[in-house]
């Protein structure tokens, strides 16, 4: 670990006017404390969202102005229940607070947010933070909810106990914001004086410097002569909670509690053994419909816009290599990135809405049993479902899963769900395999096969990846609340921007590369099909023919497979070029392509697209990861090419194996 010693940092006075850098506040709080809402109301659009280097933890920073116009920097740290580290998110929280990260300056002061209606749990983290000895402001958020639950909170008494300013607030209505800004402007912001008396079993070295409490890991004493922290940490937790209970007794007064809160009344229906799952099906059906169908219009519009743009620019530029690069490479590539936006927008809007109102946790509660069977978290359900529309937003949506192992497994298995880009390929090939009415069943079978693969690999991966990191799946079921549209839209905006900036650049680069290998070397005298054959892609297709021949594929299919990496549906257009189909109308073009397929013969006179080859090809498409965008997003979300490569290897490997088995066993059984 790099960084300064935590004790050395206290020398910098809170209101150091000598330094030019703006004062930095760290924003900490439990999940569901309304921390994000407060961050948004303090900073508005003056936010920077990124990643902490080396880990998949979102880094949020913003600029805020004090009551007298001063500039402050605010670091929104990941929500946590404790400073004891269980996950990478919490490690970032601890290390930033203690000034141990070289990429983030140690905060000058801390704003600690707690839910006023739930102080008997939230004061736990507050007491840990106050003990660190940094100048601190405690914010009691959701005072309105506390009031509705007949809980009277005495902020003054609490401030006296903790020795730091305590500010009652309703972040969603911005009540208390002025008081917070005034407190932030204080140059004499006091450091907390409150300390929980540690039990005698805690080694003296650790009791001296409270930050040491969070630096020692169980089973790994800091020094050889120290006792394993496991021996005394449980005692520390119990002592701290005893103190929390005492603080609550002095600072809060509970009135007559209503027997059933509004949340209870809603949950009676939404978590009902029958109506609960029914409601989940309904909501998810709607979500699926919107991501699948409602996004179609805008996606077509974006595609149309870029086709128009390509024609427009193509008309201006003189014909030649540069013309083709701009129209077919760059403009088509940018279009290929932006075409994801409607789906990403819709998915994140709905997930955000569900998360903000509190319904997402209920879905997780209901689905937990089923997801648990394959070793996943209830929260993985929504990203995995939306993966049937497109894996790209689904993988980004896995961020709602707080357990890092479950998040990774969800990201790794999501592309096994048959996404909408596979559908054109299925629809092209199925009529060649199954005639007539049974196509629908066969289509359902392909989706089922993909789902089975997803579940099988979820089970395998969750067993063998990061077993040491197992955390009990605890889901907090917060009270229902009205959605905060401002926060939701801001969140969607950050996601969209991140997608374009990080994943978009990779997708664009690879799209251009794929265009290059299909276009060069140029042979203008040849017609399109022959030109494709002698291009780098065609040569590559022929090179890989020995590898894919055992699956029943010839080199033309090989080109289609390679072209599919831009997006799977490109298979159709690439095959159309290979088989010289020139048809404006899509349906007629498909039919003609299918006719050509059924007529196509190998040199030895056997059919290229025999039913068995079609089945093998379909199975390959069900399993294989042929999507640059997915690889780029996985690389971004896991922060490493390693996991992207791992996923590519497993998916494409399983596809190869499955197709090989289908084709070879089929042939052995006498099918053709």
């Amino acid at each position: 670990m790099t960084g300064r010693s935590p004790s050395g940092r206290g020398q910098k006075p809170a209101g150091d006017k000598a330094s030019d850098a703006p004062r930095t506040f760290a924003l900490v709080g439990n999940p569901n404390s309304g921390k994000t809402t407060l961050f948004n109301s303090l900073t508005g659009l003056r936010q920077k969202v990124g990643n902490y280097p080396g880990v998949t933890v979102e880094r949020k920073e913003g600029v805020c102005y004090g009551q007298h116009g001063e500039t402050y920097r605010i670091i929104d740290l990941p929500g946590s229940y404790s400073l004891h580290v269980h996950s990478p998110d919490e490690e970032v929280l601890r290390d930033v607070l203690l000034g141990r990260r070289s990429d983030t300056p140690a905060p000058d002061a801390v704003i600690c947010v707690a839910d006023a209606s739930n102080l008997d749990r939230h004061l736990y983290l507050v007491s840990q933070v106050v003990e660190l000895g940094l100048p601190t402001i405690v914010v009691l958020n959701m005072m309105d909810i506390a009031e509705s639950r007949e809980i009277a909170v005495d902020a003054k008494a609490l401030a006296e106990e903790l020795g730091v300013p305590v500010i009652p607030m309703q972040a969603n209505t911005r009540e208390g914001l002025v008081e917070l800004r005034l407190a932030m402007s204080r140059t004499d912001l006091p450091a907390g004086k409150h300390r929980v008396a540690l039990p005698g079993s805690v080694p003296a070295e650790i009791a001296m410097d409270r930050s040491q409490l969070y630096l020692c890991e169980c089973g790994k004493p800091l020094q050889k002569d120290l006792i394993d922290p496991a021996a005394w940490q449980d005692e520390v937790i119990a002592t701290r909670y005893a103190e929390v209970d005492r603080l609550c007794a002095t600072a809060t007064r509970h009135g007559e509690r209503p027997r059933l809160s509004t949340t209870d009344r809603i949950d009676r229906w939404l978590l009902h053994p029958f109506f609960g799952p029914a409601g989940v099906c309904l909501v998810l059906g709607l979500l699926f419909y919107l991501v699948f169908a409602a996004a179609e219009g805008p996606m077509h519009a974006i595609e149309g816009l870029f086709t128009w743009l390509a024609n427009l620019v193509g008309g201006i530029l003189p014909a030649g290599d540069f013309h083709d690069l701009v129209t077919d490479g760059i403009i088509a590539g940018v279009g290929g990135v932006l075409v994801f936006l409607p789906q990403i927008f819709i998915l994140f809007f709905i997930i955000g809405l569900m998360e903000d109102t509190g319904y997402l946790s209920r879905v997780a509660f209901i689905m937990d049993r089923i997801m648990g069977m394959v070793g996943l978290n209830g929260r993985a359900f929504i990203p995995l479902l939306s993966s049937y529309a497109c894996a790209v937003p689904a993988i980004m949506g896995a961020r709602t899963i707080d357990n890092p192992r479950d998040r990774l497994v969800t990201i790794l298995v999501a592309p096994w769900a048959s996404c909408s880009a596979r559908l054109p390929v299925y629809l092209l090939l199925l009529p060649l395999l199954v005639p007539g009415k049974h196509q629908f069943l066969a289509l359902a079978g392909l989706y089922g096969l993909g789902t089975a693969g997803l579940m099988l690999f979820a089970w395998i991966f969750s067993r063998f990846l990061g077993r040491g990191n197992a955390m009990p799946a605890v889901i907090e079921l917060p009270g229902y609340k009205r959605p905060d549209w401002h926060s939701i839209l801001l969140q969607v905006w950050h996601r969209v921007r991140l997608f374009i900036r990080r994943a978009g650049t990779v997708i664009l680069a690879v799209s251009i590369l794929l265009w290059v290998v299909q276009t060069y070397p140029k042979a203008p005298q040849l017609e399109k099909a022959a030109q494709l054959e002698q291009s780098y892609a065609g040569r590559l297709g022929k090179t890989i023919e020995p590898v894919i021949a055992p699956l029943g594929f010839d080199w033309k299919i090989g080109i289609g497979l390679l072209a599919s990496f831009a997006a799977r549906e490109v298979f159709v257009s690439s095959m159309s070029i290979s088989y010289s189909i020139q048809e404006e109308d899509e349906d007629i073009g498909l039919r003609k392509l299918r006719e050509k397929f059924s007529e196509a013969r190998r040199p030895d006179g056997t059919a290229v697209f025999s039913p068995l080859v079609c089945l093998s090809l379909l199975v390959f498409y069900v399993f294989a990861l042929q999507c640059v965008s997915t690889v780029a997003v996985v690389r971004r979300e896991t922060n490493s090419w390693r996991w992207a490569g791992f996923q590519f290897f497993w998916m494409t490997g399983s596809a190869y194996l499955a197709s090989l088995l289908v084709f070879q066993i089929g042939r052995w059984l006498g099918f053709s």
Partner: protein, 98 residues
Amino acid sequence: MSNYVLMRLNRNSALAGVGFCTVSDLSPGCEGVISGFLNRDVALRRFREMGLVEGTGVRVVRKAPFRGAIEIAVRGARLSIRNEAASQIAVRLVGELE
């Protein structure tokens, strides 16, 4: 219930002599006071840190069907925990509400 508790008592001799059952044994509406955890797994520390310490009252609000997640009320909050985890939290029965 008593047979079940006895069976557990035999299995966990360390806790023998203390009449107890676990959160997963409670039916919805039942309330208990946490008396301890059945193993020293580090993962269970997360429960303690969320306020499930010895002496804290726990009420089972509802159980999802097929031994699914269990919703508990603890310290004024609602948490959903898995059945396996709930069977690690020992409680003393307090009484039935509602």
